[in-house]
Amino acid sequence: MSILELRIEQPSLMTRSGDTYFAVADILPLDSSRGRAKPIRGVQVPIGGRSYARVSLVSPGHYLVRAKLPSGEIMLQRIEVGGRKTRVQMESEDSPHKWLSQEKVLGLVPSAAHIVKQAAMHGALEDAGSRSRQKSTKISRSRPAKAVEGTSTSPKPSGSRSAALFADRFDASGRASRAVDTVEALVRASLASLNYDASLAIAAFEVPTRSIFASMESDQVVLGDLLSGKGVSPSGDESAMYSVVEVPKKAQLERLHSVPTMLSQLQARRKAPGVRRPRAMRYYAILAERGRVSRACCVPVGWVSLNGNRESRIKLVFSRTPTGKTDMAIAVDDPKIASVLSFLQRGDLGSAKLLIKSSLRMLMEKAQNPMAAAAAAYVLIYSSEDTEPHANWRQWIRNLGARFPFVPDGLIQHATLLLQRGDPGAEEDARALLLRALDFGPPMYRLGVKLLAENLAIVRSGEMHRKHDNGVTAAALRYANWLAARVDTRHAFTVLNI
């Protein structure tokens, strides 16, 4: 019997003790060792930190370690295992900057080597004789006005998509008001300048909204009832391809509700007799490019880490795309769950399941972080019946939707159990869950956006078969399809292209 100790080194990656990112590795006996030894699969290998994965091997000899990182990087290393203990440290590729090592591990930014390679290749495609199947030139579109840092730009035409985004749909009587200019001005004033002609605000929206999709126009996304916005500025090298913004902690954001002067009208309205008080809050990062709102990203404010019961740091990672646009992604400083989310995002259900298995009970029963629990629930929902990692998982998901509706993913997951995983229940129950989920705004995760549209299509199809034309379901499906068409599939959290 030989012992192999294994870890992956990521230069500059700082992690807290016992709180590391994980790769998933297979240890494969090579020809000389095959016959006696069998492959060992699914070893959780720490990335960074000081701990090692410890594996018992039947015999010494040559092995191949094949490790999958959350970033999608695959590392192969031939190793020789001696008679007793062998310690192996595999070196992962460098990140583009020291302060981006976490983001590199999660695949939110590429490695430094990849960037160099990409730069060398960029622009060479057409010259090399490759022919694109399709050019993506746009049909006539007016160019937006160029923005001045952190200031408002020329007024947008009435009914523009960005106006719809911030549409305060409720006045004191509960029906759509025309406070658009005021609310939009609030956000505009809050926008802080990023690099590359873009600005950013973290905005709080009150939920539930009432039938947000019922009265929406065809090209709108409604996030809720805007309460406040705060401009945030990036850290890092101003000239770099990447910027990082740390999202203020929940308590800081909550204090903001009384700060912006523009809110006074809203607050006065809320204090009016008969007007409901805010019930729950959703937070979004709102990105404006060249004076025009381009993206809205669900921000999991108040995320409690799996280990340590502390509120995790949340970072927004910005990068410039080859087409000159600004990309936005979220990194949560909760290494294990962040690793799971990255594997999920890459379609690697097996690795995600392996990592989450030991933490399921803590996530689902302690319920300290319903957002992380919802991420774990996606692993369960998509797992096959013969590999379900826990007996009580269906009940956990039902509880998640019922107890934490402001994470709409739980409600969508419950509906998925009814419609797609054989739970007993009527389509009508599933429909009610989906409509309730919609009332709390877009799902936290992009997988939720897909399931929302998928489930509503099933409900709608059932109604059509029964010749029961329900206008509300049709409107909900339209809205869900709109979200699905707008969601950026490269990210785990919901990022909407506006």
Partner: protein
Amino acid sequence: MTIVHDDGDAAPGLHALLIGVDTYPHLKGGKKKLFKDHEEMGQLGSPRHSVQLVGEWLYDSSKIVDMPVRSIDVLMSTSPKSFKWGKKKVKVDRASAQNVAASVLGWQARGNADPNNLLVLYYCGHGVSWGEKQSLLLEDFGGNVFDPFTDAVAIDETIDGMRRCAATRQLYFLDACRSVSEDYLRNLGNKGIRIIDAAAHSRLGIVRQHVFHAAENGLQAFGKDGEPSIFAQSLVRALSGPAASPNDDGGWEIKASGIYAALDKLMPLVEPTAIQVANARLSENFSLFKLLAAPQVPVSVYCKPEHFTQTATLSCWKQGAQLRRRHPPRATNWDLELPHGDYEFRASLGQGVPEKSRNVTVFPPLTNVAISCP
């Protein structure tokens, strides 16, 4: 529907549907009235060759893998409309919306015969993508100016609907652009025909579906006129070995996850300037088939520092016997293909400089060999 092969055996096996669209009469360069919202899309020169290449791999697959090919249906909107299956040439139906719908339904029905069937769909042609949704454009796209996507397939919804099929292993290879068209999204209504309704299926987690895209969302897929696409070339190469992993019986098998890893490594080998990514749909992994022999693995040998690669004589050895040698001067890495195993690679710089060597296990999907030189 053109069934070019059907072995008539009801036992589980592989059922393939191959669709290639080169000719778009209503897009740029087409022979019919130009669709005004063509977005610069025109005629293609690669899908026919791509479909043919995938078909040839399937024809030869019995020599490589243990999965019998039960049936193949081919639709091509190309000129000429013929498909080579072994020595026979078959005239195939065009990829119209009606034919594609009929073929998908027929393919689904054949898959229904046994849960252990493996279903494979390969599409090569124009595609447009929005978020989670992708439309595959068929031959007549743009003919109906009021509702052009009646000649397109809403592939994501169709794949959802395919969970109603009994076959629990399904692979979709979508060799098409995933460019985003803002104007199509806003203006053009529905986004394609949903061939199989997603109604009341309860088989999430039972039916395993993997979708391989030729490009990351928002990006374009590439192919050269008169050649198979980069994706098709990489795919057939991956299935012949680089996608393999060792199983517990001492043999080799190809799993869906291995295809992702192999495509990621192989596409830049086919076309170094291509920046393409295969993308995923969340599903359990599954084994496609076992390889009948050790996998062939692409190997790239170079010196460190890299400028020595140009002047070094590179050689490959196994158990003391030289297998291959490359003489200088060469501008690029030494790319070769070897069966999995242990090898020694040597770099000789001549002029009294000691020869350098490195022992390496050649292993899928791709092995890079860097030999440190003085």
